[in-house]
């Protein structure tokens, strides 16, 4: 089997039965504390009015963006994007500022609200089970999904598969693969029978949200240097001007005094 260049998930909401085996498997595999979870149910559940009803749910977790905003925003670089997909966390660097919870357009990272100074409050999210990838296994959620709603593999292949499914069943799916382009592309791709907002997914554009932030950053240093130069220039200029004026008035005073003295 060829090595995978970019790991990704493909979730098909039409196959999901909201059993939550994925969440339990993840909790066990990753030793998630009882009061937290890396995967949670989103979606409107039952929609409509009796008897015209519909269901939509999905297991929501980290999107493992291609251009992660948590990676961009973390002051100490605690988040990093591994080449082959997973967005990983370095718990030794984290200062618990929780900026990543703001930067993430999918509102993914969770924080240890109940840990004090001695326990060490950290951030938590889906890791794509690197310990399983290492030994050739799929992430725990994918492996256990009884209906095959969760698939895993090479991102490009899964995108092609998703589009093929849409083509084969045009009346079944919304004609869009969520995550193909959103936020610059994510590694959690989603097929749905209902609008993605009904599944609890945010409306995120195709340009990574970090781009504007990083562009502003690139402008900052030249701006700071320029602004500093301007201010220095003004300070010096004002100072010189003041000196010139002082010397001029001094001269005037001296001249006046001399004249006055001369006249006497």
């Amino acid at each position: 089997m060829a090595t995978i260049k970019q790991h990704a998930y493909l979730f098909d909401a039409t196959r999901c039965i909201d059993c939550r085996a994925c969440m339990i498997a993840c909790s066990v595999e990753n030793n998630v504390p009882m009061n937290d979870t890396y995967i949670w149910v989103t979606g409107r559940g039952v929609m409509g009015e009796y008897p015209d009803l519909q269901r939509a749910t999905m297991p929501y977790h980290c999107m493992h963006c291609l251009a992660p905003d948590c990676v961009s925003g973390c002051p100490v670089g605690a988040w990093s994007k591994r080449e082959d997909g997973p967005v990983l966390y370095d718990e030794d660097k984290c200062i618990g500022c929780r900026y990543c919870m703001n930067t993430c357009p999918f509102s993914v990272p969770h924080f240890d609200w109940d840990k004090g100074l001695f326990d060490g409050a950290l951030m938590h999210k889906c890791t794509m089970c690197p310990q399983r990838l290492e030994v050739g296994q799929e992430p725990a959620c994918v492996q256990t999904c009884p209906t095959g709603a969760l698939k895993f593999g090479e991102r490009e292949e899964l995108i092609a598969e998703a589009h093929a499914l849409i083509k084969a069943h045009p009346d079944r799916y919304i004609d869009h693969v969520y995550g193909e382009l959103e936020n610059g592309g994510t590694s959690y791709l989603i097929l749905s029978h209902v609008p993605f907002s009904e599944l609890g997914l945010p409306d995120v554009g195709i340009i990574p949200v970090k781009n504007v932030s990083e562009a502003a950053m690139r402008v900052t240093v030249p701006f700071a240097v320029g602004w500093g130069a301007v201010l220095t220039g003004v300070t010096v200029g004002v100072g010189l001007n003041k000196k010139r004026q002082e010397e001029a008035s001094k001269k005037k005073a001296e001249e006046g005094a001399t004249v006055a003295g001369g006249e006497k």
Partner: protein
């Protein structure tokens, strides 16, 4: 008439006034709550959650706190860069305000950071795409700069004249650096939000956020100078430098005008102008911040008669501050759209932390004003007039 400079008494007889007693009590409560936070986590004493990772502390202690410390760099620039020495009397109180203000922020961060003991990680592990890093470094640098700028007063108060003189040498370069850092810093609070384009309501999000923050910080700083001067004039029973405040007040409508133009131009050009009317509560909040923070103060400060009236100056300043504080709350809290339908109201213990920090700030200002030659320049100027 020359006023005596207050001499620190040899024996401190501690008999706090009623106000001071309240402030000290609030500090005590906050201290206990902070200890609980350190023992059992932020969640035990606040209503913050995964849906609301930042809440009252960030909006009040950080966003508002940094904004209202912006008077210092304006006055420092006026006095030391533009050599407008007439503003000297206002300078040191303003620098003290900023110094205490930034220290208050550090206190807030000690409670709000998940791992405050690791705050210096920002010096060892640096991710240069992060505006959070810029914010953290700016706080550290500007705090140092404020210490340098305030050093002469402190050293003089501690009777170290020679050292005070020595310290004065560093003021000009410190001020230049301080203005640069402040510009970036005030802007950085806005830049912090650039990455939240998917979450911050389009009434507030714009690529121009750092510019908007900087421009508004100018008017906020000017209003703060007016406010702080009025307050210390009342409390310390001093004169009020009306002629200076009048001049500063003249600049406020200009600053507000530029801000308003930028804001509305950006809304129109980005096609988001219609949100002014269709976004329910967000529209209301936006109108409120504009009317209270821009329109009313602009009308007040545009009138020369108001500018010459101490009471109108104070009223105008307070209204401007309230409106701008609302703006800070809007961009950092109310305007952020959440994925989960969860509500957040800060808990009493949460607010008590901010109350304690705020009380500390007031007490610190009062103590410094009493025991250090804070108003020396003001008195000297008054004496010479």
């Amino acid at each position: 008439m020359k006023m005596q400079v207050a001499v620190p008494p040899r024996v401190l007889r501690f008999r706090p006034s009623p106000i001071a007693a309240v402030l000290i009590t609030l500090m005590g409560i906050g201290f206990v709550v902070a200890m609980v936070r350190f023992a059992s986590g932020i969640g035990t004493i606040s209503n913050l959650s995964n849906t609301y990772p930042w809440g009252f502390w960030i909006s009040f202690d950080i966003y508002t706190g940094i904004a209202i410390s912006s008077g210092a760099f304006l006055l420092a620039a006026a006095v030391y860069i533009f050599d407008l020495k007439e503003f000297r009397p206002l300078l040191m109180p303003s620098i003290l305000t900023a110094l205490i203000g930034y220290f208050m922020e550090v206190l807030a961060l000690m409670v709000d950071l998940g791992r405050p003991e690791r705050i210096f990680n920002m010096l060892f592990f640096q991710n240069f795409t992060s505006w959070m890093l810029v914010l953290g470094l700016c706080v550290m640098i500007y705090l140092a700069i404020l210490v340098v700028e305030f050093a002469p007063v402190a050293l003089k108060g501690l009777k170290r004249e020679k050292l005070a003189q020595f310290a004065r040498r560093f003021i000009k370069p410190a001020v230049i650096l301080g203005v640069v850092v402040s510009t970036i810093h005030q802007g950085s609070l806005g830049s912090l939000l650039l990455i939240q384009s998917a979450k911050l309501h389009p009434l507030w999000w714009t690529p121009l956020l750092p510019v908007m923050f900087f421009v508004s910080s100018i008017s906020i700083g000017l209003a703060m100078i007016i406010f702080e001067s009025s307050m210390s004039s009342r409390y310390f029973r001093r004169g009020l430098e009306m002629h200076l405040l009048e001049k500063l007040a003249k600049a406020i409508p200009v600053a507000l005008g530029i801000y308003a133009v930028l804001k509305f131009a950006q809304l129109i050009l980005s096609g988001n102008f219609w949100h002014l009317f269709d976004s329910g509560l967000h529209s209301v909040l936006f109108w409120a911040e504009i009317i209270v923070g821009v329109v009313i103060p602009l009308i007040i400060f545009a009138s020369p008669r108001n500018r010459q009236n101490p009471r109108m100056l104070l009223v105008g300043a307070i209204i401007l501050l309230l409106g701008m504080i609302l703006n800070r709350f809007n961009v950092s809290w109310f305007g952020i759209q959440r994925l989960q339908d969860v509500s957040y109201v800060p808990s009493l213990t949460e607010v008590s932390i901010s109350a304690a920090i705020f009380s500390f700030g007031i007490l610190a200002f009062g103590l410094v004003a009493r025991y250090l030659p804070l108003f020396e320049d003001a008195e000297a100027a008054a004496a010479n007039s």
